[in-house]
């Protein structure tokens, strides 16, 4: 389009000329004369170039600037006549594009316009370019803006000048905020972390302006890890200035995936080993470390073959890779790998080649799983399986498993194969029907099909017993076969397990048991005692014939099925409740001697025992009752006890006989026994005594009631108050004395001649045996009167024999009760009579014996006394012997001591002080010698010279000898001696010694407190000699102080003394001497004070002289 040039000048001539000029050049022109017109033209957008004269009023430099502002693309050429530099500058400053001097040559003018035109064209071109750029920029902008790739454009400082939506989204910040911010700081603001080489690269790019591709940036934005590959592209210079384009490639997923993969690999429990094509290990998982032992650092870079088991360690990498590449994708196989410690480990290995996209192998990946535990578990399971198989094979029952669909045998155990006599190979897989289970008795195969069908139908184990002959036997066995349907996990039955057990033994045992049972039943049936069994309700299941007999029914069958509790017999015995107890609580029933009433009339006495029956679990299944008929036994027992009672009574009677010699008492006792006994309880008994003078049997007395009334009275009395035999006897005797025993009259009337051989009583006496009369009125031997007298038909006659002569006869009857007298009763009576006589004899002997025994006992105690005395004496003798021994031992030393002492004494003067001492020694030894003498004297064995002598003479002489001592002590003497001789056999010296000793003691006793000075007599000594009963008694009495009890008791004991001096042997010696003479010394206290000693010596009988008359 032609450029319109606006000419603005004040002068119209200029305007026109300029216009013309320009028009000629082809420009369009517009003129303006005033500033308003200029502005209006500008407003209308007319000029493309302005040619303006500064002299125009209203147009000043500022207006120029103003106009430039309105239309900046219109070059303004300023005309001015002012050539001042200042003005030019001002004009230029205000916006003029060119300044021309006015007037200027047309050439200059045109050149300026041309220049301006070019400027416009340039401007237009620029505008067009700009528009194009704008258009392109807008497009690019959009591309960039809508690109999903985050893009930011930075200036050279790194400040964001442009940012696309994706980046904004990424940074999560509005555009306004981003623009003008440094990218790094934006990132830092939005991200928790920034990692990676990005910063470094960015600064390098900004500096060096060389592009960087693939800079790694990791930022955690909004909590999410983001990974970017960043392209930093320096941009060429634009009007906006040079900058850098930052393009973020989000590789997060890839990275995360990669990382994930890495961690999967690294942290995998499985051993993942990745090696390159040289089999050098590049990647090593934690699992691998665990399994193989190598740590990551140790193993990276080592050859993979390090892990291979021996034998594979020199595997060629290339061939391995090739092999793997060819083979189909990863297969798992079991193999071994070697651990760091050298041990081999079982692994499940997946080995595959890693290939690049072109398919070339670049490496190997091995995934190994440690299957040691698995292997172990498998072995365990194998073991268990083997174990079960072993069990199945060991079981003695035959086992066959059939698969349901086709009925094929899938399993047969050893026992079964043996039974059918086939091997596993012949049987497994075959149809079950083709393989029978043994042969039956007709040699046909035993088929299981029906049983299996049944099991399948019911779904439950089914059982059947078959007869089956095993291969190796001729005998047919019994098989108990059970078919077990086996369901799988889905509850469909796939198999049936047949288990067959040989029950032949059991069957045989049962047959035996049945036979046993029959035998047992036989036993029960024929048993002599009643046996019955019931069930738990009491219904009788078994009863033997004996039960039938006891219960009084015709046959045991009548009882079978009946209920025990409802039987009358049981009810009558009141046992129902107890039978029930047996069944309910198991309490055994035990009842003895109970009467069973039988409907047939024959009651029986029974012992009954009932016990519960148990099964193996201790549950009560019924009861068994054993009933014993003891009727006979009981009656025998009763008989026996009666007899025993009678024997007891016999013993009692024996006691009664003990001291009695009274024949009446004896006989009456016997009669009481005959009527009072339990078994021997006759109503009445009569005693007929044998009279030797008249040769007849005369009735003496009888015992028993005279009539029924009296009987009843007596017997009821006896029943209520217990009477002993003694009571009865004494009562009877008392009654007899009072004459109240009426039956005695009957007895008194009975007289039977012993010569009457036809009389039974006489015969009994003569023949000495008992008779039983049962029909007295018609008995040939029973005279009419006797029968009448007795008033009874039946009686027993028994003789009583004492000391071999018949004393008489007892007649006993049961007149009151009329009870039959049996043979047994007769025998009992005989026995009793016999026993009674024996009892009498015995009691007499016993009495004698007691008496003798008493005598013996007395003798014995006497002996014992003497024994004690003897023992005492022996003790004393022993003691004496000991003393003698000691004395003798002492004697010699004493002699030496005393002798030398005397010797020394002789050499000492009386005035010598030592004289007194040595004298003491001499005196003491003398004293000791004296004591020794006494002791020896005492123990001297008796060796006295005994001779017959006159004691009177001796006594007189002895007293005479002691007269001196007596007078010295002012003792009066009285002597009372017989005038005749009293001859004794004695050792005169010894007797004299004794008398001397006693007299000496008496003197001492009487001079106890001899205070000296003369006065009256101190006492009187009386010596007497008397003879009595062949003994001579010498008594020596004193009037001293007497003796106390203790002294009296012990004074004759050796070494007992009341004196302070002396040996205490004096009296002991005296006693010894006197005893040796066969006499005794006694001592007594005189009632009038003083003591009296008596010496007793046996006198010599006149005839007894031995010719050795003593001198005395």
């Amino acid at each position: 389009m032609a450029i319109r040039i606006l000419i603005a000048d004040e002068s119209p001539t200029v305007r026109v000329s300029l216009a013309e000029l320009l028009r000629q050049e082809g420009y369009e022109t517009v003129v303006a004369s005033t500033e308003d017109e200029v502005f209006a033209a500008y407003a209308a957008q007319i000029p493309g170039i302005l040619l303006v004269n500064l002299n125009m009023p209203g147009i000043s430099p500022p207006d120029i600037g103003h106009l430039k502002k309105i239309n900046p693309s219109a070059p303004i050429l300023v005309l001015t006549s002012d050539t001042r530099f200042q003005t030019v500058v001002e004009a230029m400053r205000s916006g003029a594009d060119d300044v021309l001097t006015h007037p200027s040559t047309p050439e200059r003018l045109l050149a300026a316009v041309e220049r301006a035109e070019q400027q416009v064209a340039k401007a237009r071109q620029l505008d067009e370019d700009e528009a194009e750029i704008k258009r392109l920029t807008t497009l690019n902008q959009q591309i960039i803006d809508y690109s999903p790739v985050p893009i930011a454009v930075l200036d050279l400082k790194g400040v964001v000048s442009h940012i696309n939506n994706a980046m904004l989204r990424l940074l999560d910040c509005p555009q306004k905020t981003c623009i003008g911010e440094h990218l790094i700081s934006l990132l830092e603001r939005s991200a928790d972390e920034i990692d990676g080489e990005f910063r470094t690269h960015l600064s390098r790019v900004l500096e060096h302006r060389s592009p960087v591709h693939g800079s790694a940036l990791h930022a955690r934005l909004s909590g999410v890890d983001r990974y970017f590959d960043v392209d930093l592209i320096p941009l060429r210079e634009t009007d906006d200035g040079a900058g850098v384009m930052v393009v973020l490639h989000d590789v997060s997923q890839w990275i995360i995936g990669h990382q994930f993969l890495r961690s999967v690999v690294r942290d995998s429990a499985d051993a993942i080993v990745i090696a390159d094509e040289q089999l050098v290990i590049r990647l090593w998982s934690v699992g691998a470390e665990k399994i193989f032992g190598y740590a990551l650092k140790e193993i990276i870079g080592k050859p993979l073959t390090l892990l291979f088991p021996p034998g594979q360690t020199d595997t060629d990498p290339a061939s391995l890779l090739a092999h793997l590449a060819e083979s189909p994708s990863s297969e798992k196989k079991r193999t071994h790998r070697r651990r760091q410690d050298g041990a081999l480990v079982d692994v499940e290995l997946t080995q595959f080649a890693l290939t690049d996209p072109q398919g070339h192998p670049v490496g190997i990946c091995e995934v190994s799983r440690d299957i040691t535990l698995d292997v172990a578990r498998e072995r365990e399971i194998e073991g268990i399986k083997d174990f079960y198989e072993h069990i199945v094979d060991t079981i003695s029952d035959g086992i066959r498993v059939i698969q349901v669909k086709e009925r094929r045998i899938v399993l047969a155990n050893k026992a079964h194969l043996e039974w059918i006599g086939m091997s596993a190979g012949e049987v497994i897989g075959r149809h079950s029907q083709e393989v029978p289970w043994g042969l039956d008795e007709k040699n046909r195969g035993v088929q299981m099909e029906a049983l299996v069908d049944r099991a399948l139908a019911t779904g439950l184990p089914e059982r059947q017993v078959y007869a089956s002959r095993p291969a190796k036997s001729d005998r047919v066995h019994w098989m108990d076969i059970v078919a077990y349907p086996m369901a799988n996990a889905l509850e469909t039955i796939e198999h049936v397990v047949l288990v067959g057990r040989d029950i032949t033994a059991r069957v045989e045992m049962e047959a035996n048991l049945a036979a046993e049972r029959d035998r047992r039943d036989q036993v029960f049936t024929s048993a002599p005692i009643g046996i019955l069994t019931t069930d738990t309700q009491g219904s009788i299941q078994f009863a033997n014939p004996m039960i039938a007999q006891i219960f009084g029914v015709f046959s045991p069958d009548a009882l079978i099925g009946e209920n025990l509790f409802h039987l009358d017999q049981v009810k009558n015995m009141e046992l129902t409740a107890r039978f029930r107890q047996v069944l309910s609580h198991g309490t055994p029933l035990h009842q003895d001697q109970i009467t069973c009433a039988s409907p047939l009339g024959r009651d029986t006495i029974i012992n009954i025992r009932a016990e519960p029956l148990f099964d193996q679990t201790r549950t009560i299944t019924g009861l068994v009752a054993v009933i014993e008929n003891v009727t006979e036994k009981i009656s025998l027992q009763r008989r026996l006890s009666a007899t025993t009672a009678d024997l007891t009574m016999l013993a009692e009677i024996g006691e009664l006989f003990q001291e009695s010699r009274d024949p009446d008492l004896i006989l009456q006792t016997i009669l009481v026994g005959v009527t009072a006994g339990e078994g021997l309880g006759f109503n009445r008994a009569f005693w007929l005594a044998a009279d030797s003078e008249t040769h007849a049997l005369r009735g003496k007395y009888a015992i028993g009631p005279s009539d029924a009334q009296e009987a009843w009275r007596i017997w009821s009395e006896l029943k209520t108050t217990p009477h002993t035999l003694h009571d009865v006897l004494s009562g009877y005797r008392a009654a007899m004395a009072r004459g109240e025993v009426r039956i005695n009259e009957v007895a008194r009337d009975l007289v039977i001649s012993l010569e009457d051989a036809e009389n039974i009583a006489a015969r009994a006496a003569i023949e000495r045996r008992a008779f039983l009369v049962t029909d007295g009125r018609h008995h040939p031997m029973v005279p009419r009167e006797l029968a009448d007298r007795l008033g009874t038909d039946s009686f027993a006659v028994v003789p009583l024999i004492f000391k071999d002569s018949v004393e008489g006869v007892i007649i006993a009857d049961n007149a009151i009760t009329g009870k039959k007298i049996t043979d047994f009763d007769l025998r009992s009576l005989e026995l009793f009579a016999h026993q009674a006589t024996l009892a009498v004899e015995r009691s007499r002997l016993y009495f004698e014996l007691e008496h003798r025994l008493h005598e013996v006992q007395e003798a014995h105690s006497l002996l014992k006394e003497n024994q004690e005395v003897m023992l005492k004496n022996a003790r004393l003798a022993a003691m004496g012997q000991l003393a003698a021994q000691v004395a003798h031992e002492i004697r010699n030393p004493l002699v030496a001591i005393g002798g030398f002492a005397r010797n020394v004494l002789r050499g000492l003067e009386e005035y010598d002080s030592k004289h007194e001492f040595v004298q003491i020694i001499v005196d003491e030894t003398s004293r000791l010698e004296k004591i020794l003498g006494d002791v020896l004297e005492f123990s001297r064995p008796k060796n006295g010279r005994m001779a017959a002598m006159d004691l009177v003479h001796l006594v007189r002489r002895t007293v005479g000898m002691m007269q001196g001592e007596l007078s010295d002590h002012r003792i009066e003497t009285r002597l009372e001696l017989p005038s005749e001789e009293v001859r004794v056999r004695a050792d005169a010296d010894q007797i004299r010694q004794v008398l001397q000793n006693l007299i000496h003691n008496a003197v001492e006793a009487m001079s106890a407190d001899d205070a000296g000075a003369g006065g009256g007599p101190q006492g009187t000594l009386t010596v007497t000699l008397q003879v009595a009963h062949g003994k001579a008694v010498v008594q020596i009495e004193d009037t001293g102080c007497g003796l106390d009890q203790e002294t009296m008791r012990r004074m004759f004991e050796p070494f007992f003394t009341t004196k302070s001096h002396g040996t205490g042997l004096g009296l002991a010696i005296c006693q010894q001497i006197v005893r040796d003479h066969g006499g005794e010394i006694a001592v007594a206290n005189n009632p009038d004070r003083g003591a009296v000693f008596s010496v007793v010596l046996p006198c010599l009988q006149k005839e007894e002289t031995d010719g050795t008359d003593s001198r005395y």
């Binding site: 003798h888 002699v895 002798g899 005397r902 010797n903 030894t925 010698e929 020896l936 064995p941």
Partner: protein, 117 residues
Amino acid sequence: MARILVIDDEHTLRLLYQHELTQEGHTVDTAGTADEGIAKVRDTEYDAVILDIRMPGKDGLEALGEMLAERRNIKVIINSAYSTYKDNFMSWAAEEYVVKSSDLTELKQKLAEVIGR
């Protein structure tokens, strides 16, 4: 004055007798056992022999018998602690029987008598 032999198994007594009798003026020999005594009697003529009875081994009575066999007229005084042998007839063969005592008076007396006989 006289030649005496004392036979006693107790050493102290031999000493005593020897001393006492020597004091009396006699010549005294001693013997401790019966055999010793018998030997001495055999060798020497003694006026008197004082003989103890209870001695270990051979007792005095047996010795007495043997001594008498040696010298029929030998005079023996039995000097014993025991009085029991008084009744033994063997002792009658002795001239005297003295019971030992610390008082030697009786012994000396009897000795004087025997020597005088």
